[in-house]
Symmetry: C2
Subunit: 140 residues, 2 copies
Amino acid sequence: MGANARFATALHVLAVLAHQDGDPVSSEFLSASVNTNPVVIRRLLRALQTSRLVETRKGPRAGSRLARSAARVRLADVYQAVRDPALFGLPRRRPSPACPVGQRIHAVLKPLFASAELALSRDLARTTLADVLRQIQRLR
Amino acid sequence: MGANARFATALHVLAVLAHQDGDPVSSEFLSASVNTNPVVIRRLLRALQTSRLVETRKGPRAGSRLARSAARVRLADVYQAVRDPALFGLPRRRPSPACPVGQRIHAVLKPLFASAELALSRDLARTTLADVLRQIQRLR
DNA sequence: ATTTACGCAACCAATAGAGTTACATATCAT
DNA sequence: ATGATATGTAACTCTATTGGTTGCGTAAAT
């Protein structure tokens, strides 16, 4: 998939849940809309469950549904639920401690990266899942 | 490497260039500070050259140096130079056109993603390479 | 009980990126 | 000119991540 496509897929899934408001939706159904395997969807749903964005029941006529109204789900919440641990990673290999720059660069960069990611989250918090659903329905 | 570690490595390289202000620095020297292979650094430098952030000369006593003062290099410029084409990718597999949500979700998400990335860039534009160097030197 | 759908482990495949090697090319110094 | 130096670039391997897939156990509704 593309870079960080989990976020887009999560929003897709949540949009379907919002669209089918109330009714539990099976991972089979979701995977058909996303065009992938049900297990991939279940993996994604687990992250959304952990963040209390969706609830899932087992058994016949079961599936997943939103744990709160779509208006209360901000894109920033979804991003937090499924994002990679670090948007801006640091290289695996440690810089040379012999170089004055290498010795300190990572310590300097960390808070700068944190600030940038905060700015990102703030922007994502401006839009809710309800907004997304509204736009989807407006496109008809 | 970690996710998007190219950005951190690029900033590391540029910080070294700023630190050695004026003097051309070889990819050999840079790779020692970053703790990697010179070719990896040269690949990175090419992206920075393309964005006119560094200039490189060949031959003996040659190497790379900043193409403008460190105060004129914003982190957002560096990010633009080395970032992945799309911060938030879309899944490779197209959603089902049979599903009303799947049919439209990507079109709705695209501008939302663009807005978030713009917010990110705006934050990164608040800091310059000179700021980074100053902080490194302050840590002594 | 039977059926349905999730949970989860295990594995394979595709992808991207770093790392590496090798060699051609440009340029400086003499 | 010539030799030394450092980049440019292609080609390859290695590794990590992620999606995709299969199989089976388990919970819950009827």
